[in-house]
């Protein structure tokens, strides 16, 4: 198994999707996607529910192939290298491209173990206590949990659980973090905390975030991909417009994008 070559200089983008199609069995859920993810930027994927946002996001770190009969066509490049090449190990892909899920899903273990688990399976060599503290600080959770590291992660509030999941993802030092509606199960204050956190994190990481909350995309992201079901009756989702966030929200080229971001959609 070959690890994807890191930091190929010739590629300006961290992730590039080219002519991407994603299938569940014979059902084509996502079609004809072209988009690029820039380093140390936040890229948002927006669109109505069921249009394939999660599907696209999960294709970026090969989580989709855990669904038994899913498959992809086309290409996704990670730092210039084909993610789906036959010699690429999905385990390594997921190490380098981490993921935070819609519903907080801490392991039923202690807070400490939640963070340490991923580091341990990847053979982390440094001091575990330091890593745990550092990751929790990065996720802005340290002060809230430093006295109860041995408590179950399930005992935290929803927002804290989600930040724990972010800390857990950070602990294995990914280069990209994929977030699938990370704040949709949280209250507004917890949501705000996550958004602040993202701004902090983008200094060191590249973030791709799925959201159906347009304010969130407008506030927090640098680039936005607008997804819709394509019109050809196949019920496949596709990216109809991809641009800098400010263009998408102030001066969209596609009429459907304009309708959607101004709330005139559906």
């Amino acid at each position: 198994m070959v690890q994807p070559q890191s930091k190929t200089e010739n590629s300006h983008y961290v992730l590039e999707a080219k002519n991407l199609e994603i299938y569940y069995g014979s059902f084509k859920a996502v079609t004809d996607v072209h988009m690029n993810v820039e380093r140390n930027k936040i890229t948002a994927i927006i669109g109505p529910s069921g249009c394939g946002k999660s599907t696209l996001l999960r294709a970026f770190n090969r989580m989709n192939e855990l669904v038994s009969d899913s498959s992809i066509r086309g290409e996704i490049l990670f730092q210039g290298q084909d993610l789906y090449a036959s010699n690429v190990d999905p385990v390594v892909v997921r190490h380098r491209i981490g993921m935070v899920f819609q519903k907080p899903n801490p392991f039923p273990k202690s807070i400490y173990e939640n963070i340490a688990w991923g580091a341990r399976i990847h053979g982390y060599k440094g001091k575990m206590d330091e890593l745990v503290e550092y990751s929790l600080r990065q996720a802005a959770l340290w002060d809230e949990v430093k006295d109860k590291l041995n408590q179950s992660g399930l005992a935290l509030s929803g927002g804290q659980q989600q930040r724990l999941c972010i800390a857990r993802a950070l602990a294995v030092q990914p280069e990209v973090i994929l977030m699938d509606e990370p704040a949709s199960a949280l209250d507004p204050i917890a949501t705000l905390k996550i958004e602040e956190l993202m701004q902090e994190l983008k200094k060191n990481y590249t973030i791709v975030i799925v959201t159906h909350n347009m304010q969130q995309a407008a506030r927090a992201s640098d680039y936005t991909a607008m997804m819709m079901l394509s019109k050809d009756g196949e019920r496949s989702g596709t990216v109809i417009e991809f641009d800098e966030t400010k263009h998408i929200f102030t001066n969209p080229k596609d009429k459907r994008t304009e309708d959607y971001v101004t709330g005139r959609f559906g």
Binding site: S68, G98, F101, P106, I121
Partner: protein, 311 residues
């Protein structure tokens, strides 16, 4: 439209509660049925207890000798339970040492590795295995496992009736029970946990063994305990294959009667009421009842706690 006259009895107009004798009788019957299981339990405890008491009142029997004696020879008035107890433990241990690793292996394979298609094919096979009457397993032990063991280890080492053969086949009997209970526990672990582990770059094995199995550990322990209780109470395999006659030995290749095997042999003959033999099976039965009851209660307790985690 034509008007219909709704001709209900006069009583309909009153909102007062009316007696409904039919309902009450039926309700009485239902309550009786609901409580019937309690009567069964009381019956078991009372009958076993009463006759066991008679057994311990016999001048030839005393409780201490019963619990520590290494000889069970009614005709010379020796009533030590240990030979029966040890052979029960030996057969059960052999059974569990087969059933636990295989059962967990099957369960992990089915829940974490197998495609839905394979799973749908294999689960009915497990059900078939679990539905075969134990006498058939007994037959299998005697006509297949015993000759096999004797060919492998030698006719002189392995008796025709021996605990190893019974134990091994009992392991096969219990395998589907442990496998299906464990599989239930594993598939109850939410998908999101697996995704979290995969998302961190865990391999399939790491996700299965370090996240899913620990998360399901109480369900798995419950499965193992239930399996143990089943092994201890299992009767026909040991009655057919483990040998007749109490024998205080730790050699699995020797024949020795278990608690259940003894009950079957004693009661299979013509047993006269109130004889010491008759009373002794109640004493042994009572012991068996409490051992298995304790195990079952422990396992239910564990499962109950397990449920609280995810709901």
């Amino acid at each position: 439209m034509k008007q219909i006259i709704l001709n209900y009895p006069e009583a309909r107009k009153s909102l007062k509660r009316r007696p409904r004798w039919g309902e009450s009788i039926i309700q009485g019957l239902l309550i009786f049925s609901g409580f019937f299981s309690i009567f069964t339990t009381i019956g078991i405890v009372y009958e076993l207890g009463k006759e066991a008491l008679l057994f311990f009142r016999e001048p030839a029997v005393n409780l201490w000798a019963f619990l520590t004696g290494t000889q069970w020879q009614p005709h010379i008035e020796k009533f030590g339970i240990l030979p029966l107890l040890t052979s029960t433990l030996i057969t059960s241990t052999i059974a569990m040492s087969i059933a636990i690793p295989l059962g967990l292996g099957v369960a992990i394979y089915l829940s974490e590795y197998a495609t839905p298609k394979t799973r749908n094919l294999l689960k009915p096979i497990l059900e078939v295995l679990a539905g075969i009457p134990t006498i058939v397993y007994g037959y299998f032990a005697l006509t297949f496992m015993t000759p096999l063991l004797r060919t492998i280890f030698g006719q002189d080492t392995v008796d025709i009736y021996n605990m190893a053969s019974a134990g091994l086949v009992m392991g096969i009997l219990i395998l589907p029970l442990i496998a299906s209970m464990t599989e239930d526990a594993l598939s109850a672990v939410p998908r999101s946990l697996r995704e979290a582990a995969y998302g961190l770059g865990g391999t399939k094995l790491e996700v299965a063994l370090k996240v899913v199995v620990p998360a399901a550990i109480s369900g798995i322990s419950a499965a193992i305990i239930v399996g143990m209780s089943r092994a201890i109470g299992e009767t026909m395999i040991v009655a057919v294959a483990a040998g007749a006659g109490p024998n205080f030995t730790f050699n699995p290749f020797k024949g020795a009667e278990t608690l259940t095997g003894h009950i079957v042999r004693i009661s299979g003959g013509d047993l006269s009421y109130d004889s010491i033999d008759y009373n002794s099976i109640f004493a042994i039965g009572l012991m068996l009842f409490f051992i298995t009851l304790t195990l079952n209660i422990i396992s239910q307790q564990i499962v109950r706690r397990f449920r609280e985690v995810y709901e």
